[in-house]
Structures are given as structure tokens and as C-alpha cells.
């Protein structure tokens, strides 16, 4: 029913000149996701200073140099799209990638007379994230209307939270990877608030018109605002990746940056070291990967530092810049002329959001172990930082690892198997750990079987790949394929003697000093045992026989 009414899916009815649309965007203060690339090429031509700071020219050395004189101040706004079944204020399914305008209803289309009704899951997820970020929760918060006109915003306002967010005043702890200098950092979280997403504009190739897809309109978001606590691109990227880990650990979002489920907007200014006041803040959007965050920030630090050094600090203006991944540079999207006035006021269609302490406590007690706690626990187990970061990075991997050691496997061995052979397999097959047939129980069995000498490490590897691909049990596979390691010295001696007697030529060469041939003999014996001979015993007995004077 709604689709027949929804006439903008017919291109001719909604004719906007693409270029005109963009022209307006640059002037406006509206917060819009931008998908255009041709926006500001002419603009950029007037800023010659930028061409000199090609990203490749500012290696970390140069950046280090800059950072000796300047300090960067970085804050991040993160939008997390929640993985609720339905939208924030109506019962439309929250599906990514549906055919345009198929997941819409009078409420999310903003039809006259339609009213929002809050999805309680949004509050639950807000509380979960707020607690995970060590925030104070507002037991009484409310929704407000943020007002601006844009074709992807059906009601002409976004339902958001303004002066009383659901959570505020928290922090997040991150570990900087060793290759970037390592260390532990704590970044402040200013606030977390609930809001709804807008729709999407699809611009025609010719630029003659634009179309609106409202499937995303009304999808719930949590916006996380950080304190301006970060000082480098690496720190910012690490902050963003910790956000991704946390939302995935909590199960509130898939955290997928490509799909736009996790969107980071960076605010950055630099100031000469020793200067108390902040420099002019620039916002960077369109950051679709952690590496983009890091590089875009480094680019911006260099750009601003160069302007300072050339005595052109006044050319650093309050603006929104767009990161262009292909060109590895950012360009002006729009200048911010004065503060945007969104005319916030309390949303009269929704009652206040009241949380009871019991509710909060019940959610707190249901929180999973979070990445930071996991990392500290792994560290305390004696794992190195690289292992810790690897294992805690992906919640499924961490859960798998925990399950394996829960079955009694040795920590370091379990970590090694997961980080080397299993990780390589997952990468080659493009799978996640949840997709493989191997169970934590069997990996623990495998590790135990190698440790107690039932099978050799080499056989272990073979079994591992079979288990990953086909499943089954270690014991079953050992029996079925007769893979039990030969640890009986008499049996090994028999094989050694046979090999030695069958290779008189090589034996003679060996005894004449070509001791390297030991490897050859060992290989032959191993081959004869079908790889099952215990390598230690084999070597010991082989050496005895080779060196025996008979």
C-alpha cells in the first residue's frame, strides 16, 4: 500500500539537479552523509598547499617531526547501527540491503497522523553500551527533535536525544599494538545517546535527479561521543576498533564499517606544543576503515602543520572535509558558517525514558566479559601482548579460545594453534571461526593427544585440517586411520635396522663422514612408519645404529 503512495521511487516525480543539490550542501549546516565525489574539485584547486602533502610524502618520520612541535587534539563521534529486528519507532523489519522502499510504513515514511512508538530493545542496547563504556546512566532521559530539512529525513526532524542522553561520563581502555609503540591508553566518553537513522539518497548517473530510499529511515542508532583525548591517527583508529569490538562483544551491532553499521566522524585540531587554547577544529567524514581513520588524521595533522609553518594558520577554518580513499587525501565538503541551529525541543510524541535500578542491574549482570577484561585476563595467563590482542580482537575467536582452555588445553599451545594453522585456514577459506566444523572440545583433545605422545605434531596438523573441514573427533580419526604414534623402541629399532640394511651405500658414506645423511635415513624410517614413529625415539635409535661399530 505504501509503495503506491511512495511516488519518489518514480524518478520523474522527484527531479532534483544533482549539482544543485551539492551546491546547496556545501553552504548548509545540515549533517548529511555524503556520497558524492565530484563535489569540490574546483574548490580544491584553489588550495595549492594541499598538493604538496601527498600522503606518501608524510611517512611516520615526517609525522614524528611535526609532532615534536605540534600536538593534535582528536575526538570521535561514532554512529552504531543497532541490530534490532525492527526499527526504532515502528515495526518495520530492520534489514540491510533490501530492495529500495520495501521496508517502510506510515511511521518511518512520516505520513500525516503517524506516531512513533519506542522499540524497547533500543533502550536495552543503549544501557548495555553505556554500561560497557563505564558511563553513568540517566535513569530519566527523554527524546528530542533535531530539526532540519533534507529529502532523506521524512519528518523534517530526527528523533534524537539532546540535553539528557541515556549515558554519559564514561571511558574506554585500549592497548596500542606493539608495532605502533604499544602501551595502554584510556579515552573519555562524553556521552552515548539514542537516535534514528535517516534514509538514503541515490543520485542518478546523469545527475538529473535523485531518488530516496527510506529503508534505513528509522533504523536505531547509538551515537557515542568521545572526549578530545586522542593525539594521533593510530590512537583514533585503535579507539574506533575498540568500539567495534565492544559492540560486537555486546551483540548490539554487527559493527560493519563497509555497510555503514559503524560510522566514525573525526574532529581534529592541532596546536603548537605549550599553547593552552585549542586550534580550529576540522571534521572529517567518509571514513570507511580503521586504516582510513588513521591515515586521514595523519594527513590532516600534516596539512594543518604545514599551514602553521607557512604562517597561514588563519587558513585552517571550521569545515567538514571528506576523506577520499582512492586519492588518499581529504577535500573540503562544506564550510561551517556559524553554529547550526537544529532547534531542538523535547519530542512530545514520546514519553520520558524511565529506567529502574533493577532493570539496569539486571542488564549489568548479563553483560559478557568485555574486550579490555579479556585482554587483562589473557595477559595474566602469561600470553604475550601480540597473542592477547589477536585472541581478544574477535569475540568468536576469544570465545573459542576460552572454550578450548576450558577443556583443559594448555594456554600457550591453544593460542598457537588458533593463531597459526587455524587462522591461516580461516583466511584461505574466507571463513569465520563459527563456520568451521572443529569444536573447542576436539582442539583440546588434539593438543592433549600431541602432548601425551599419542600422535605426532605432524599428524596433529593433518588431523586438524580434516577436523576443520569435515568435523569428527580426534580419537575417531586416530583409530580410523591408525595414526597412533609408534613409541615402542623395539618396533622402531626394527624399522631402523631394515632401512639401514637396505641402504649400504649411504651407510658407508655416512660412516665416512657424510653425517648429513642422517636426515635421509630418518626420512626413510618415517616414511616406512607412515609418519607415525615418535621422532625423538626414531632419532635416538637411528643414531645408535648408524654409529654402531659392528
Amino acid at each position: 500500500m505504501s509503495t503506491t503512495l511512495f511516488r519518489t521511487i518514480q524518478p520523474n516525480q522527484f527531479t532534483l539537479l544533482g549539482t544543485a543539490l551539492f551546491r546547496r550542501r556545501r553552504r548548509s549546516n545540515f549533517s548529511v552523509r555524503c556520497c558524492g565525489t565530484q563535489t569540490t574539485t574546483t574548490h580544491e584547486a584553489k588550495q595549492p598547499s594541499q598538493s604538496r602533502i601527498a600522503p606518501k610524502n608524510h611517512g611516520s618520520n615526517k609525522l614524528d617531526e611535526i609532532l615534536r612541535d605540534y600536538e593534535a587534539v582528536i575526538g570521535i563521534e561514532t554512529h552504531v547501527q543497532l541490530s534490532t529486528f525492527t526499527k526504532a519507532f515502528c515495526s518495520c523489519p530492520n534489514n540491510y540491503g533490501s530492495h529500495p522502499n520495501t521496508s517502510i510504513c506510515p511511521v518511518c515514511m512520516g505520513l500525516p497522523g503517524a506516531l512513533p512508538v519506542l522499540n524497547s530493545k533500543v533502550v536495552e542496547f543503549g544501557v548495555r553500551l553505556g554500561l560497557a563504556l563505564n558511563c553513568d546512566l540517566s535513569l530519566k532521559s527523554k527524546f528530542d527533535r533535531k530539526q532540519y530539512f533534507y529529502p532523506d529525513l521524512p519528518k523534517g526532524y530526527q528523533i534524537s536525544q539532546f540535553d539528557i542522553p541515556i549515558a554519559s561520563g564514561g571511558y574506554v581502555d585500549v592497548d596500542i599494538p606493539l608495532e605502533f609503540g604499544g602501551g595502554h591508553r584510556r579515552f573519555g566518553i562524553t556521552r552515548v545517546h539514542m537516535e534514528e537513522d535517516a534514509g538514503k539518497l541515490l543520485h542518478s548517473d546523469t545527475g538529473d535527479y535523485s531518488q530516496v530510499d527510506l529503508n534505513r529511515a528509522g533504523v536505531p542508532l547509538l551515537e557515542i561521543v568521545s572526549e578530545p583525548d586522542m593525539r594521533s591517527g593510530i590512537e583514533a583508529a585503535e579507539y574506533a576498533s575498540e568500539m567495534q569490538r565492544i559492540v560486537r562483544y555486546l551483540g548490539v551491532s554487527n559493527g560493519n564499517m563497509q555497510e555503514g553499521s559503524l560510522r566514525c566522524d573525526v574532529n581534529i585540531s592541532i596546536r603548537p606544543i605549550g599553547q593552552a587554547e585549542f586550534g580550529t577544529k576540522v571534521e572529517i567524514k567518509n571514513l570507511n576503515a580503521f586504516s582510513a581513520i588513521s591515515r586521514a588524521i595523519d594527513f590532516e595533522i600534516s596539512r594543518q602543520a604545514l599551514l602553521y609553518n607557512q604562517g597561514q594558520a588563519d587558513q585552517i577554518v571550521s569545515e567538514t572535509r571528506l576523506w577520499e580513499e582512492g586519492a588518499q587525501k581529504s577535500v573540503t565538503m562544506r564550510k561551517k558558517e556559524g553554529l547550526a541551529d537544529y532547534r531542538y525541543f523535547p519530542e512530545p510524541d514520546l514519553p520520558e525514558v524511565i529506567l529502574t535500578q533493577d532493570y539496569v542491574d539486571s542488564i549489568r549482570s548479563s553483560l559478557p566479559e568485555l574486550p579490555e577484561a579479556k585482554r587483562r585476563r589473557y595477559e595474566a595467563m602469561g600470553l604475550g601482548m601480540q597473542d592477547v590482542l589477536f585472541l581478544a580482537n574477535d569475540v568468536s575467536v576469544a570465545e573459542f579460545f576460552d572454550a578450548v582452555i576450558g577443556k583443559g588445553a594448555e594456554v600457550k599451545l591453544a593460542a598457537n594453534w588458533i593463531m597459526s594453522d587455524i587462522a591461516a585456514y580461516l583466511k584461505n577459506e574466507d571463513l569465520s571461526i563459527n563456520d568451521v566444523k572443529l569444536t573447542p572440545q576436539e582442539l583440546a583433545e588434539l593438543i592433549a593427544a600431541i602432548k601425551d605422545g599419542t600422535i605426532s605434531g605432524k599428524i596433529g596438523k593433518q588431523i586438524l585440517f580434516e577436523l576443520l573441514a569435515k568435523g569428527g573427533t580426534v580419537q575417531g580419526m586416530i583409530k580410523a586411520k591408525d595414526l597412533v604414534q609408534i613409541t615402542d623402541p623395539a618396533e622402531i629399532e626394527k624399522m631402523v635396522l631394515k632401512v639401514v640394511s637396505e641402504n649400504p651405500k649411504q651407510l658407508e658414506q655416512y660412516r665416512n663422514g657424510r653425517t648429513k645423511l642422517e636426515g635421509y635415513f630418518a626420512g626413510q624410517v618415517m616414511k616406512m612408519s607412515k609418519g607415525k614413529a615418535n621422532p625423538g625415539l626414531l632419532n635416538k635409535i637411528l643414531l645408535e645404529k648408524l654409529n654402531a661399530k659392528d
Binding site: L5, T15, G113
Partner: protein, 550 residues
């Protein structure tokens, strides 16, 4: 033509005994005033002694006649439709008359023929204000911007009415989006007052009030944001009931000021308005601001007169709001109100005068809040998804022209006022301040309603004025809302019922008495209102028939 006339007469005989009497013997203004004066004497009320019997419920009469087989639903529907045909060219109450009235009436007749159960509103013909969504029927809110718009869903109130057997006759005229007090601000037509075609019916629900007054339908729905049900009820001499905020779902009511809007009921008797309210009341999961308060069975309050005790309202504490009878209120209105108060005393009420110190603050606070919310609520009418779209080659132009041509002057003025009041730097001085006043008003009402069971006042400072009289003087028009806006700010229920006539028009003009009750205590208002109405001597508020109909 003669055939039509006979039908009209037939309907007056069948549905309104009083109309018949008036048709025979037109009222004399003086005689009516005398009877009113007589009724206000303090002698005990026993039985009616005047020639005019009290008004009868149209809903109950219809039900009785249908069940007894005296008349069919189709016959009733036909006679109302022909009455509409005859009177509409003079009154212009309807923006749209449904094509399906007869079809639904026939369905009811079939149910009767099969002996199936009838809903309480079976065969009841209901006019619906045009800002209430009716599926498949135009719903324009009196605005050019929604010309030809047909919603894909029924408002919850309409859904309930249909489920109970009610028949929507058509959509009634109104001030655009409810912004006005005369119905002159409709984009389509000006509705005339059935008491005097040169006068306004009041507004913004002028079409609904006039249609009931002219017996074009039995009852009707309006909406009341600042008095839009009560003031036109007063101007047209019908009963207007504004329920407590939250009593009736707003889902499907095109929002003007969300925190003030309620759907209200018109009837020619208190019982009709009460029964219609009962039909549409109750919690609705599609409106988060609707209340879960139980809806009492109002009908038990509508006792027939012969069951009344000698002092049927003995001990009911009635507070006459002092500030509503001060300067600026027409002397005729004042004296009719005083007489009504005396009548209540005669019925056994304990009458005192109460003061609401915040009374005069309500009007400016109302206009700030209503304008602010409307500036936001009307943002969705942007020409992008539905409604009138003016083609433009640039986005701003599209908005500008669609809204510029779609909205009328009054609407634009209020959007501008509201936008201003919500702007950064003005918010505290206007919107926030107005909310503080709102709290004061709530407190004053609460205190007054602790001392009294109901509060009374005139419904408007004057009777209906001439069309065009206040068109160029918005402030004078706004001032006319002084009696009603405070009730919306406090969210309380109120009923307006005709209590007398003042000079003006061919046969005098009706004046309404407003009774205000505690939140969710509509029951008391209906009880007092019903007894007041049934005992008011000479209380037949049927407008003079139109010259060419009579």
C-alpha cells in the same frame, strides 16, 4: 425538490422531535430568553413545564428505531444525505461526502434482517474533521498542501467507530491544520454558522460543529488543541466534548501541537457526545501518549429525566472561574453564564467563585507552545513524498515553492513564530518560559479542582461573530481562545453545552457553558452536563432552518 423536502421533513420527524416543532412554529428570541430566565430561578426542579421537551439522544433514538424496525438504516442515511444536498451550498460544512454511506447502511440493514448483533453505533452517521485520517477518503486538514491526499490507513478513532457500526458521512471543513478560530482559514471554503449564515461557525472544527447543528449528521469528530471543539460548539449551539489528554488515541490525527491535541466529540446532546467518546477512548499501542486508564461505561450517567431526584446534583461543588467573567467578555455572555450557574445551584450544586491566578498567562504560553510544536510537526509537508509538489530544479526551491504555495497565511505565520521561539538564544525566553507557565497553570487547576468537583466558565468571550470580522486582526481572534487554551495546557477534560441565547442573527445566537473536570473524570462532566441539559427549560438549541428549506 418537493420530494426532497418531504424527505427532510420526514427525517426531522424521525430523528428530532424538536425540529418538527420549530419547523411549524419558528422561535421568537424573546420567548426563549424568558424561558431561560425562568429556568434559572431557584425553585426546585421537578418536571418540565414548558412546551419544549429536552433533547433526545440521536444515537439511542437511531438504535431504538432500527431495532424496532420502525425505519431502516438506509432510509435514515438517505434522508441525511438529501439534507446535506439541500443545505450544503449554504453551509459548506463538508470538504468531502462519502460515496459509501448508503452501501454501509445497507450492510447494517442486512445484519438486522439476519438477526445479527448490532454495534452500539450501528447506523449512526458521523462527520469527521478533515485532519483525522480516513482510509481511501481525502484527508487534507483543510490545506492545499494535502489536496487530494488519501491516507493508506484509518486513524484509531475511525477504526473503532467503524468496528462499532458507525458510518463516516464525510470530511468536515476546518481551519488549515487546526490553526484558526473561525474555519475561515480553510484553504477550500468558508463554512457558515447555521444560526446565521453571515457568521462564522467558530473553529477550527467549524465544519463538524455546524454539521451537527444543521443535523447533516448525528454526531461528529473534531480535534481540540486550544479550544477547537469547544468554541465552535458554543458558536453553533451543540455539545462539544474535549476529553483528557491521552484518553483518545491521536494515531491518525494530523498533528498540530502534539502535547495539546486531542480528538473530541460533537453531538446535539450530552449523551451523544459521551457515547461517541466512549467508542473512541482507550489505550492504543500506536500512540505512546495514550493512557491506560480504564474507560468507564458513561451510558449509566444518561438517566431519563423522570428518574431525576428533586435536587439531582445535590452537593456537587461547582467553582465559577472569576477571571472568565471579567472585562473583555460580552455582557450577554456574562449574564447567560450567570444564569447557567444559577441553574446549577437550583439543581443542588454548591456554587462558589474560584480564582486561577495564572489564568491570563495561558494565552501567550499557549501560542508559544502550539506554534513551536507546529513548526516542527509541519516540517514533513515538504513536497517530497506526498502532497503538493512544485517542480523545481534546485532542492531549496522545491521546498520553498511546495510549502510557499501549499500553506496558507495563518499557517505560515505560526510556523514562523514557532521557528523563532525554538531558535538558539530565544528558546529559554519563549519555549522554556511557556513550559514553566504551563506547570503553573496545571498547579492552579489542580488546587481549584481539589476544592471543587467541576469548574465552569463561558466557552468563549462572545457568541459567533461575522464572517471576515476578525480576519485581519489575528490578535483579536487569538484573544477569543482565552477561555479554552488553559484547559489544553493542563490536559484536562471539558465539555461545552449550550446554555442560552444572546441577541444576534435572525433568532438569536447560542452561548456555550464550559465545564472543566479533573483528569480522566469525563464521567462527572457527562453526568452534570446531562442533567443540566435535560433540565434547562426551553432548551432546544436547533438553529433556524435555512430559508429555502423551511
Amino acid at each position: 425538490m418537493i420530494g426532497e423536502l418531504i424527505k427532510i421533513l420526514k427525517i426531522t420527524v424521525l430523528t428530532s422531535k424538536n425540529s418538527k416543532e420549530i419547523a411549524k412554529k419558528p422561535w421568537k428570541l424573546n420567548s426563549i430568553r424568558q424561558t431561560v430566565t425562568f429556568a434559572s430561578s431557584s425553585s426546585p426542579v421537578t418536571t418540565t413545564t414548558t412546551s419544549v421537551s429536552p433533547p433526545q439522544s440521536q444515537i439511542l433514538t437511531t438504535r431504538r428505531s432500527l431495532l424496532s424496525g420502525e425505519i431502516t438504516a438506509s432510509e435514515i442515511a438517505k434522508s441525511y444525505l438529501s439534507r446535506i444536498r439541500l443545505t450544503e451550498s449554504h453551509l459548506k460544512c463538508f470538504l468531502h461526502v462519502s460515496d459509501n454511506v448508503l452501501k454501509y447502511a445497507q450492510e447494517i440493514d442486512q445484519r438486522i434482517a439476519k438477526g445479527e448483533e448490532l454495534g452500539p453505533l450501528a447506523g449512526v452517521l458521523i462527520g469527521v474533521k478533515d485532519n483525522i485520517c480516513t482510509e481511501g477518503m481525502p484527508s487534507t486538514a483543510g490545506s492545499r498542501i494535502l489536496e487530494h491526499y488519501r491516507p493508506p490507513f484509518d486513524a484509531t478513532a475511525i477504526k473503532k467507530i467503524k468496528e462499532l457500526g458507525g458510518i463516516v458521512v464525510g470530511k468536515t471543513n476546518m481551519d488549515e491544520f487546526g490553526m484558526g478560530s473561525t474555519t475561515e482559514a480553510s484553504a477550500f471554503q468558508v463554512t457558515a454558522n447555521p444560526w446565521d449564515l453571515n457568521r462564522v461557525p467558530g473553529g477550527s472544527s467549524g465544519g463538524s460543529a455546524a454539521a451537527v447543528a444543521a443535523r447533516q449528521c448525528m454526531v461528529s469528530l473534531g480535534s481540540d488543541t486550544g479550544g477547537s471543539v469547544r468554541q465552535p460548539a458554543s458558536f453553533c449551539g451543540v455539545v462539544g466534548l474535549k476529553p483528557t489528554y491521552g484518553r483518545v488515541s491521536r494515531f491518525g490525527l494530523m498533528a498540530y501541537a502534539s502535547s495539546l491535541d486531542v480528538i473530541g466529540c460533537f453531538g446535539s446532546t450530552v449523551a451523544d457526545a459521551g457515547m461517541l467518546l466512549h467508542a473512541i477512548s482507550g489505550y492504543d499501542r500506536f500512540d505512546s501518549t495514550s493512557s491506560k486508564q480504564e474507560v468507564p461505561e458513561f451510558q449509566s450517567q444518561f438517566l431519563p429525566m423522570d428518574l431525576f431526584e428533586s435536587k439531582p446534583l445535590k452537593g456537587v461543588r461547582v467553582g465559577l472561574i472569576r477571571e472568565t467573567l471579567e472585562e473583555g467578555v460580552d455582557s450577554g455572555v456574562r449574564s447567560v453564564t450567570q444564569e447557567a450557574a444559577s441553574h446549577l445551584e437550583a439543581l443542588g450544586c454548591v456554587l462558589t467563585e474560584v480564582s486561577l491566578p495564572s489564568f491570563s498567562l495561558g494565552l501567550p504560553a499557549y501560542y508559544v507552545i502550539a506554534s513551536s510544536e507546529s513548526s516542527s510537526n509541519l516540517s514533513r509537508y515538504d513536497g517530497v513524498r506526498y502532497g503538493n509538489q512544485v517542480m523545481a530544479d534546485e532542492l531549496n526551491k522545491l521546498y520553498e515553492c511546495s510549502r510557499g504555495e501549499g500553506f496558507g497565511g495563518e499557517v505560515k505565520m505560526r510556523i514562523l513564530m514557532g521557528t523563532y521561539a525554538l531558535s538558539a538564544g530565544y528558546y529559554d525566553a519563549y519555549y522554556k518560559r511557556a513550559q514553566q507557565v504551563r506547570t503553573l497553570i496545571r498547579k492552579d487547576f489542580k488546587a481549584a479542582l481539589e476544592q471543587n468537583d467541576i469548574l465552569i466558565s463561558p466557552a468563549a468571550p462572545s457568541a459567533a461573530y461575522k464572517i471576515g470580522e476578525k480576519k485581519d486582526d489575528p490578535l483579536a481572534m487569538y484573544a477569543g481562545d482565552i477561555m479554552t487554551v488553559n484547559v489544553n495546557l493542563a490536559g484536562l477534560p471539558a465539555i461545552v453545552l449550550p446554555c442560552g441565547l444572546v441577541e444576534g442573527g435572525p433568532l438569536g445566537l447560542p452561548v456555550g457553558l464550559q465545564m472543566i473536570g479533573a483528569a480522566f473524570d469525563e464521567e462527572k462532566l457527562l453526568k452534570v452536563g446531562h442533567i443540566f441539559e435535560q433540565t434547562l427549560k426551553g432548551s432546544s438549541f436547533v438553529p433556524p432552518l435555512l430559508p429555502n428549506v423551511a
